[in-house]
C-alpha cells in the first residue's frame, strides 16, 4: 500500500497568494508596532503588498491539490482578482477615512488582508470544511472591522448586530453541513457529487440540510428575507469597510455556492430546491428595490440596492452551467467596481462617521466638487444598468443566460425591478446636478488615494461597458474549464 503524501513542495504554489497575504497581514501589524511614527507609510505598503499578491496570481498552477480539497484555475483567478481589487479600493479609501477619524492602525489593513484570504479559501475549497473555515476566517475579520471605530456607538452597535446574526447563521451552515455529512459520509464536494448522482430527491433529510445551508448562506449574502442586518451594519460600519463588506463576502459566497450547486446537480432541480432559491432571488429583488426608494441616507440606500443586486446574481445561479457561471463572474467584477466606488464617494464626503450623507447633503455637489459628482454619477448609471456602463452589459448577460436556461419569469421580474431601480439611482444624479445645494460644507480635502481609487472605478466601469468582449471571453473560458474540466 502506498501512502498519499500529505504535502508536496509544489503544492505551495497553489496557495501562493494566500501565503503572501497572510504574511503581509503580520507585516502590517509588526510595522505598526515597531515604527508607529511612520504610520503614513502604512497604506502605501498595504497597497504594494496587495499588488504583490495580485501579481503572484499569475504564478499559481491550476489543478486540484491537497488530497482533492483545493482547486485552482482560471475562474478562481478571476474571483481572486475581484477580492484583491475590492481590498485594494477599500485600502485606498480607508487611508483618508482612518486619518480623518484618527484611528489608523496596522491591524485594520491586516484584517482586510486576512479576510481576503478567507474569501480565497471559500472560492477554492473543494471540501465543505475548507469553505466553512474560509467563511469563518472572513466573518471574524468582518466582526472586528465593522466595530473598528469602537469609540463611536453606532459602529459598536453595527458590530454587535453583525456578530450575533453572523454567528447565528454559522450555526445553520454547520448543521446543514453535518446533515449532508450524515447523508453521504463525506464533506468533500466530489464525494457529494457522486452521492447526488444516485440520491433520492425526495429524502427529507437532504431537503432540511439544503434549507439550513441556504438560510445560513442567505444571511451572509444578505438575501431577503435574511437581509435585516445589512442596512444597519453598513450604516454603522466605517464607510470603507461597508464598501468592502457590501461586495467581497457576497462574491466569495456566490463562488462557493457555484461549487455546491454544481455538485448537487440534477437532484437539486428534481427536489424543487431551485424553487426555494428562485423565491429568495425574487424576494431580494422586490424588497431591495422597493425599500431603497424610501431611503434618503445614501449608505442605507446602497445597502438595499445591494440586496437587489445579489437577487440579480442569484438568477444566474438557478441553473449552474458555463454561461451562467461566466455571467456571475462578469457581474462580480462590475459590482465590485461600481459599488465600492459609490461607497467610496460617500466615505470621502462625510465629515465624520456620525455624519450621515443624505440626498440633501449632496444637492448641487456636482458643481462644487465636479470629480466626485462625476464618479458618483458613473457609479449610479452603472448600478441602474444604463448603457454605456459595465452595469448594462453584465445585467444584460445575466438576464440573457436566465432566459436561455428557461427562467423567463424570474428574469422578467428582474428586468421590471431593475427599471424601478433606475428611479432611485437617477434621483441621486438629479440631486447632484439639478438641485440647489448648501454652501459646500460637505467638501473635505480630497486625498490622492481616494481620487486614485475613484479613477480606477470610473475607468473600469466605462472600459467594461464599452469594450466587454475580452472579459466575457475570459470568464466564459474560465467557467468552461471549471465545470467541464477542459
Amino acid at each position: 500500500m502506498t501512502l498519499t503524501p500529505l504535502l508536496e513542495p509544489h503544492w505551495m504554489n497553489a496557495v501562493l497568494p494566500e501565503i503572501i497575504l497572510s504574511i503581509s497581514g503580520i507585516l502590517m501589524i509588526l510595522f505598526d508596532a515597531f515604527a508607529p511614527k511612520a504610520r503614513g507609510a502604512m497604506a502605501p505598503l498595504a497597497v504594494l503588498l496587495l499588488m504583490v499578491a495580485a501579481a503572484s496570481e499569475s504564478m499559481v498552477a491550476g489543478g486540484v491539490f491537497f488530497g482533492g480539497t483545493w482547486e485552482t484555475g482560471a475562474l478562481t483567478q478571476i474571483f481572486d482578482l475581484v477580492f484583491l481589487l475590492t481590498a485594494l479600493l477599500a485600502t485606498l479609501f480607508s487611508r483618508e477615512y482612518l486619518r480623518r477619524e484618527q484611528i489608523e492602525g496596522g491591524e485594520f489593513y491586516a484584517l482586510l488582508m486576512w479576510g481576503t484570504v478567507g474569501m480565497m479559501m471559500m472560492a477554492k475549497g473543494l471540501d465543505l470544511l475548507i469553505v466553512v473555515l474560509g467563511l469563518e476566517m472572513l466573518s471574524i475579520c468582518i466582526f472586528v472591522l465593522v466595530g473598528y471605530h469602537r469609540r463611536i456607538a453606532i459602529s459598536n452597535e453595527a458590530s454587535l448586530k453583525y456578530f450575533l446574526m453572523g454567528a447565528f447563521a454559522t450555526g445553520f451552515i454547520l448543521y446543514g453541513t453535518a446533515l449532508f455529512y450524515g447523508a453521504c459520509g463525506s464533506t468533500k464536494l466530489s464525494d457529494l457529487a457522486n452521492f447526488f448522482q444516485t440520491a433520492d430527491p425526495h429524502n427529507p433529510l437532504l431537503t432540511v440540510a439544503f434549507i439550513l445551508l441556504m438560510a445560513g448562506l442567505g444571511f451572509k449574502l444578505a438575501l431577503a428575507p435574511f437581509h435585516a442586518w445589512a442596512p444597519d451594519v453598513y450604516q454603522g460600519a466605517p464607510t470603507p469597510v461597508a464598501a468592502w463588506l457590501s461586495v467581497a463576502p457576497k462574491v466569495a459566497t456566490l463562488m462557493a455556492l457555484v461549487r455546491i450547486f454544481w455538485a448537487m446537480g440534477p437532484v437539486a432541480q428534481h427536489a424543487g430546491w431551485m424553487h426555494i432559491v428562485a423565491v429568495l432571488s425574487i424576494l431580494s429583488m422586490i424588497i431591495g428595490n422597493a425599500v431603497a426608494i424610501a431611503q434618503r441616507d445614501l449608505k442605507r440606500m446602497l445597502a438595499y440596492s445591494g440586496i437587489a443586486h445579489v437577487g440579480y446574481m442569484m438568477i444566474a445561479m438557478l441553473t449552474v452551467r458555463e454561461d451562467s457561471v461566466a455571467a456571475v463572474a462578469v457581474y462580480a467584477v462590475t459590482y465590485a467596481l461600481m459599488n465600492v466606488g459609490a461607497f467610496g464617494v460617500v466615505s470621502m464626503l462625510a465629515k465624520n462617521q456620525n455624519d450621515p450623507q443624505t440626498l440633501d447633503d449632496i444637492a448641487g455637489l456636482g458643481f462644487r466638487r465636479p470629480f466626485y459628482g462625476l464618479a458618483l454619477s458613473v457609479c449610479m448609471f452603472s448600478l441602474s444598468g444604463l448603457p454605456p456602463t459595465a452595469g448594462f452589459v453584465s445585467k444584460f448577460y445575466i438576464f440573457k443566460t436566465a432566459v436561455e436556461s428557461g427562467h423567463s419569469t424570474v428574469a422578467l421580474i428582474g428586468i421590471l425591478t431593475s427599471i424601478v431601480s433606475v428611479y432611485y439611482y437617477l434621483r441621486v444624479v438629479y440631486f447632484l446636478y439639478m438641485k440647489e445645494g448648501g454652501e459646500g460644507e460637505t467638501a473635505i480635502d480630497s486625498g490622492v488615494f481616494g481620487v486614485a481609487a475613484l479613477t480606477i472605478s470610473i475607468v473600469g466601469i466605462l472600459l467594461i461597458g464599452i469594450y466587454p468582449t475580452p472579459l466575457f471571453e475570459r470568464a466564459g473560458a474560465a467557467a468552461r474549464a471549471l465545470l467541464l474540466g477542459q
Binding site: 470544511l129 452597535e157 456578530f163 453535518a178 450524515g182 442596512p231
Partner: protein
C-alpha cells in the same frame, strides 16, 4: 452496531439545536444569546461525532476539532464586542442597542 443507536444522538442534537435557536430568538441579554449560539454549535458537533462513529470515519471528527476552534475564535471576538458595548451603555441588553432601527 453495539451500544446506543445513532438515531438517539441525532434526536438529542436536533433537540439541543432547537433549544439554541429558541434561546437566540427569545433572550435579550447578549451573553445569553451567545450561549444559545454555542449550544447550537455543540449540537452540530454531536451530530458530527455520532455520524463519524457510525461510519467509522475520521472526517467528521476532524470537522469537530475545527468547529471547536471556530467557536473559540468567535467567543474571543464576541466577548470583546460585548465589553465595548458595555462601555457605551452600561448594559448588554441587545434591545438597548437601538441607535439604528433594529
Amino acid at each position: 452496531m453495539p451500544g446506543i443507536p445513532t438515531n438517539y444522538f441525532l434526536i438529542l442534537s436536533a433537540i439541543l439545536f432547537t433549544i439554541g435557536v429558541c434561546g437566540v430568538l427569545t433572550r435579550r441579554n447578549g451573553i445569553t444569546i451567545f450561549m444559545s449560539i454555542e449550544l447550537m454549535v455543540n449540537a452540530v458537533n454531536l451530530t458530527f461525532v455520532a455520524y463519524a462513529r457510525q461510519f467509522h470515519s475520521l472526517h467528521g471528527l476532524i470537522f469537530v476539532f475545527f468547529v471547536m476552534a471556530i467557536a473559540a475564535a468567535e467567543a474571543a471576538v464576541g466577548l470583546a464586542i460585548f465589553i465595548a458595548l458595555y462601555h457605551h451603555r452600561d448594559t448588554i441588553d441587545v434591545d438597548e442597542a437601538n441607535l439604528m432601527h433594529w
